[in-house]
């Protein structure tokens, strides 16, 4: 417990800044969702024919997994806050639209007819009668949307939007429970606070007798109640407007020389991302925007293709098998040259490999290895029916992953339960699974003292790290090539694993590890 508080305290400034990001993203998204959702709700409450398809659509959108949605949005909106906000807005729309529509439709038709009959215009009926009466229901919808939004925003970290999700994912990637909690606990508290605040707003703006039908009012109380409602509503609107306006301004791209360095969401990628960012900042006058910790290969690649990210480090095998759909090959040279050639056709320049080969390996606990005498993957064939296999979700879906593995080896596991990133180590350590896919440079292999099984049939692709950069950026800033090439051949498997270990086990930050590495090599 004290350890947790210590680690929490150490990163308090980061937590605070991520928390502020998180609050900002939440209010902004919900604000936009309210601005869109209420008018749409009003519109469809007037037209039942429109209501069906609109509500149907918001329902369907709600059912799309958020990661799929983010992946889908990158080509159009890029990475960072824009797609994250778009996504959260989309998810927040349903409860707001639906509740607005329901709230408006549930008003006694006689009341509405009376309002029209005594000479109110349509706008007056809406503003003075319908909306006030529907307000409790609408506010309940906003409350649901706001609390959900706090949750959705954590996912935004996947595409580099920041927020408390950053800590959660970093923690998951590095199997660091304290880091996960440092993100998760403030997120939970934020959800509760948001629930309370919106609940408070709901109570204030709702006409008093709709909450308490027997309330005893007099002239003074009515006056005070009306004034309070007015002040609070105006205040809430002002805060929302300020945040939305304040957010629109910085969207204008920064002037001058800028390069966006991306990375995937695991330790090695974070270290590499920081290394290149530091190098570029140090050696050139180009300003670096660090779009690190992006959710997955697809997200990075799409962001690169759509020019939202200018460079990131890919792996030859991933590019060959997965991004370019070239099937499988064990010829390292062929793979590299094919990738370089095909990427060039898409306007992406593949630079020289960094050196290490971060291929997939299978890992088991030492006791499992001893029991079944396991040294390579072929040894696993006999034992597999006794063991539970936990590949990463990505490995489980890749042709050059699970398919290639099963094609080469006769493996029949007792069960397969795919698991993401660092969680696999926790699972295998606690004997929830027995065989793990891991990356050969993974520092956690060292931490958990797992036995790495050799790919004796060369079934799996080689994964040499290669910097990929947009051709146009390279043309614009030719000085970049030399800077990036500084890293060529500088990191082998062993040294990469050590850097990863420093982050994953020693608890150093990827930024520090990158900086220290560059200093030790005399590059800074």
């Amino acid at each position: 417990m004290t350890e947790f508080f210590a680690s929490f305290w150490n990163i308090r400034e980061q937590i605070l800044s991520l928390l502020l990001d998180h609050i900002h993203l939440t209010i902004l998204s919900v604000g936009i969702a309210v601005l869109i959702g209420i008018p749409v709700g009003i519109l469809i409450s007037h037209s039942p024919r429109l209501a069906q398809p609109v509500l149907g659509m918001t329902n369907i959108v709600q059912a799309i997994p958020s990661l799929a949605m983010l992946g889908f949005l990158i080509p159009y909106l890029g990475i960072g806050t824009a797609p994250a906000i778009f996504c959260v807005v989309i998810y927040s729309l349903l409860p707001i639209v639906k509740n607005t529509c329901i709230g408006l439709n549930n008003i006694d038709p006689d009341t509405l007819e009376a309002a029209k009959g005594i000479g109110m215009t349509q706008g007056q009926v809406m503003g003075r009668v319908q909306l006030p009466l529907a307000l409790p229901v609408i506010m309940a919808g906003i409350r649901i949307a706001a609390v959900n939004a706090v949750g959705f925003v954590t996912i935004a970290a996947f595409i580099g939007a920041g927020g408390l999700g950053y800590l959660v994912y970093s923690g998951i990637q590095t199997s660091n429970t304290y880091l996960i909690l440092s993100g998760a606990i403030p997120a939970c508290i934020l959800a509760l606070v948001v629930d309370f605040v919106v609940g408070f707003l709901e109570k204030i703006v709702t006409p008093v007798n709709l909450i308490n039908p027997t309330i005893d009012m007099n002239k003074e109380k009515v006056r005070r109640h009306k004034r309070k409602r007015w002040i609070v509503s105006a205040g809430a609107l002002a805060v929302m407007a300020a945040i939305i306006i304040g957010s629109v301004a910085p969207i204008n791209k920064a002037e001058g020389k800028v390069i966006h360095v991306g990375s995937k969401n695991f330790t090695e990628q974070l270290i590499l991302g920081n290394i290149y960012a530091d190098l570029i900042e140090d050696k050139t006058d180009i300003k670096v925007v660090r779009d690190l910790n992006l959710g997955s290969t697809d997200i990075c690649y799409n962001a690169l293709k759509s020019r939202h990210v200018d460079m990131y480090v890919e792996y030859t095998g991933t590019a060959y098998g997965s991004l370019l759909n070239q099937g499988s090959s064990t010829d390292k040279k062929h793979i590299y040259s094919t990738v370089k050639e095909l990427m060039a056709k898409q306007g992406i320049e593949v630079l020289d490999p960094i050196g290490f080969n971060n291929s997939f390996v299978l890992a088991v606990r030492q006791d499992t290895a001893d029991k079944y005498r396991l040294n390579n993957i072929s040894d696993l064939e006999k034992a597999s029916s006794q063991l539970i296999f936990s590949p990463t979700i990505e490995f489980n879906n890749r042709k050059d992953g699970i398919t290639a593995l099963y094609d080469a080896y006769n493996l029949k596991f007792k069960g397969t339960s795919p698991i993401e990133g660092g969680l696999g180590y926790t699972a295998i350590a606690s004997k929830k699974c027995d065989v793990l896919t891991a990356y050969s440079t993974d520092g956690l292999l060292k931490t958990y003292q797992l036995k790495v099984l050799e790919d004796d049939k060369n079934a799996l692709l080689s994964y040499y790290a290669i910097p990929m950069i947009n051709e146009s950026v390279l043309l614009e800033y030719p000085e970049l090539k030399d800077v990036i090439d500084l890293m060529t051949g500088l990191l082998d498997d062993e040294s990469m694993r050590n850097l990863n270990y420093l982050v994953d086990q020693e608890g150093q930050s990827p930024e520090d590890v990158a900086l220290n590495f560059l200093k030790s090599k005399g590059l800074l």
Binding site: A114, G117, G119, L133, P213, T214, I215, M217, K221
Partner: protein, 375 residues
């Protein structure tokens, strides 16, 4: 004045109002009455353009309302509906003032009008201004509904079954108050109800609708006495009139063409007439049918000589009644004076009929015993 000119209203293929033409005079309380589906509410809602006619015109003070601004028109017309249509989230004060607020009347003036309206409908402003509709009884809600309708001082007030959800006692009370209010404020009131008793009680004129047509448009009295057709007498109910004895006039129940004699009729002839008609008094008229006296059977009995003339024994001091007197008045009169025979005379003292105790008995028994064979 509200005038309907050949107004037809169809919902899709279904004509609910068929070529309706009628007029409502200023200051008149007209009740539209009929069974459900007869088109009465539709007719009402066409006046404030909540529905618009399929064809035909509606004119208010000779202006075609189709050409008037809808919102402005509605603000000149008060509107009260059955479920009051009060806004549940507003205080009584805001409910009454809402249109005044929208029109930008200043607060002090609004407050004055609101308090005035509350007093007019019999509600204490002090106690109720800051209550909410959910805190009021049904009768109080309707009073506020009426107050709201009258607050902007409209010339016309439309009321759509405003009292039908109330208990009978409250309803009767509000009906009387409405009549009082209307007499005082002289609004043109169009009132829709399915309740014939209500219509008769409050209406200056009743417009009976059936199947989208006017079946009869007349005063309550005329409708009760001279139903235009079988449908109306069925709808009105043949015995309905007994609920309102004020509407039964001496003219309606008296014996007409009564036997009479002249001053020169001999007493023996007179005795014969009394005997033959089983009556115990006989009116005496002059040559122009003017009533000049009455011969009582009792006086005749005292005369041994039957050759004398009526003129010698007739009484010239006697009670008479006028044909416009109603049933209650004549009954009271007869009871008070212990009469069993009252001649009915017009303004020129001409004998036009007779009320006798026997004939009263026959009339009164009609409400319990059907004499004409109907239900």
């Amino acid at each position: 004045m509200i005038r309907f000119e050949n107004v037809t209203k169809a919902f899709k293929q279904n004509e609910v109002i068929k070529n309706l033409s009628f007029e409502i005079q200023d200051g008149e309380m007209v009740v539209l009455v009929g069974p459900s589906g007869c088109g009465k509410t539709t007719t009402l809602k066409m006046i404030n353009k909540l529905t618009s006619p399929t064809s035909g015109r509606i004119l208010i003070d000779d202006q075609d309302i189709a050409k008037l601004d809808t919102v402005k028109l509605r603000r000149r017309i008060g509107y009260v509906i059955q479920k009051t249509g009060l806004f549940p989230h507003m205080t009584v004060k805001d409910n009454i003032e809402i249109i005044l607020q929208i029109e930008g009347i200043d607060a002090a003036k609004r407050e004055h009008i609101t308090s005035e309206m509350m007093r007019i409908v019999g509600m204490d402003p002090e106690a109720y201004l800051y209550r909410y509709p959910s805190q009021l009884s049904g009768g109080q809600l309707q009073r506020i509904g009426v107050a709201r309708a009258f607050a902007s001082d409209p010339k016309i007030v439309l009321m759509d079954e405003p009292f039908s959800a109330l208990d009978p006692i409250t309803r009767a009370q509000l009906q009387s108050e409405l009549v009082g209010l209307q007499t005082r404020l002289k609004k043109t009131v169009v009132f829709v109800t399915h309740d014939m008793d209500e219509a008769i009680k409050i209406a200056d004129r009743i417009c009976i609708l059936d199947g989208g047509r006017i079946v009869q448009y007349d005063t309550p009295e005329n409708i009760l006495k001279n139903p235009a057709n079988e449908y109306i007498s069925d709808f009105v109910g043949r015995k309905r009139i007994w609920n309102i004895p004020e509407l039964i006039r001496v003219r309606d129940i008296m014996l007409i063409n009564p036997v009479s004699c002249t001053r020169n009729t001999t007493l023996s002839e007179c005795a014969e007439l009394l005997g033959a008609n089983e009556i115990n008094a006989l009116p005496v008229t002059d040559g122009e049918n003017r009533l000049i006296g009455i011969v009582y059977g009792a006086d005749l009995q005292k005369q041994s000589d039957r050759t004398g003339l009526v003129g010698e024994i007739m009484k010239t001091e006697f009670p008479t009644t006028a044909p416009e007197k109603n049933l209650l008045e004549i009954l009271g009169f007869i009871r008070e004076r212990q009469l069993d025979f009252v001649p009915v005379v017009d303004e020129e003292n001409r004998l036009i009929g007779l009320i006798t105790s026997k004939n009263l008995m026959t009339v009164l028994s009609q409400q319990f015993v059907d004499t004409e064979g109907e239900r």
